[in-house]
Subunit: 227 residues, 2 copies
């Protein structure tokens, strides 16, 4: 479903060059619940943004469902993201002047369904993350963990075939983290492929497979739920 070979990313700033990813080659089957772990700075967010068509690799190829991502033009890449992806950003990236409900409705913006149904679907997504009673709040009127859950609801509202989540439990307490993992588990059981970056060891048992990065390379690749 997802294949990358020789995937490399280097960032060049005035002062230095950072080799964030060093020639990664990985295959991910459809329907996998994949965990990506590793120390701060090991390249996890970089990998996810390349997978999400948000960051052009320095070298290497990546295809999702047979589509060579970076061979697409800008417009086609935007279409790809809209059709295939739900993305939970490490920094949430909520629109500050839209309410929680309006933020969750964003991925439905260009769908040709009635506005009323968009509202209902968004409200349902907010219920699934426990935030139906915060629908009218702006991001600045929400706690850290509430903003994170709005970002999660937004990624799910479109039921995309591929969910990329960058540390979706980073701002949540234990109990809420487990509720959220149960939600992702249910979506994975319904067929959605999920790639989740996390540094939370407590949730490891949810993954079918765990890839550990270190300094931009694969340090460990474990398959199988009995861990």
């Amino acid at each position: 479903f997802i294949e990358f070979s020789g995937l490399t990313k280097s960032y060049v700033t005035d002062a230095d060059r950072v080799d964030a990813l060093r020639s990664l080659s990985i295959d991910v089957k459809e329907g996998t619940f994949l965990g990506v772990m590793g120390p701060s700075g090991s390249g996890k967010s970089t990998l996810l943004s390349i997978l999400g068509g948000l960051c052009r690799p320095t070298a290497g190829r990546i295809s999702v469902d047979g589509i060579d991502l970076y061979a697409l033009g800008q417009e086609q890449l935007a279409d790809f993201r809209r059709e295939y992806l739900g993305f939970v950003f490490q920094a949430f990236n909520l629109v500050p002047y839209l309410t929680a409900l309006e933020n969750v409705m964003l991925p439905l913006a260009v769908k040709r369904i009635p506005r009323r149904e968009k509202r209902d679907r968004a409200l349902h997504a907010l219920e699934r993350v426990g935030l139906q009673n915060r629908e009218g709040h702006l991001p600045s009127q929400l706690s850290g963990g509430e903003q994170e859950r709005v970002a999660i609801a937004r990624a799910l509202v479109n039921t995309p075939p591929l969910i990329l989540a960058d540390e979706p439990t980073g701002s949540l307490d234990s109990q809420t983290s487990h509720d959220i993992m149960e939600l992702f588990n249910a979506l994975n059981a319904e067929g959605q492929t999920i790639i989740m970056v996390t540094h939370n060891d407590e949730i490891r048992s949810y993954f079918d497979r765990i890839i550990r990065l270190r300094d931009g390379a694969v340090h460990e690749d474990l398959v199988g739920r009995t861990r």
Copy 2:
């Protein structure tokens, strides 16, 4: 050292009213390493921002080192923050157009010491969080955990008597979290009072005392390091 009585905070939006803190009364001795825990939305960040003079309570009084915080004028409150506080924000709040080093130098801005010494102190603070080789990067050129550590270094560079840290390990892997907690431990041993909001159970043993909030009230108050 810190005393609040009847501390209450209600947020009123168009749609509803949220009672974030309900009449809290707590005393914190100088030199304490206090952990504040509790579910998402229980009022932890609200408590911390009131303690930091950043958010006016709806009712109740709070004094730090004998100073009645909200009896001060705006200018005096700013002086108080500069003299007494190091604050690590849940969302980091780094200045986007300043490098990591310049961000860490900010609390030294109005100190009458030579610029060269400000640079040295800031570089030393970055070393303590393992980021000396990222000094020239802008926040957008740093990973999530690196931005978090720059925010921590900035809070420490002034060796303030009171450190308020809102989930300072939220974006860090286990190993880096422990390194950061060892750093806070060392500062506490040198006499700094530290109040840390966290949802990370793994680091509980570092605290002298743990207050658990639930729906804006104290649910549990545990003293003593043997837990």
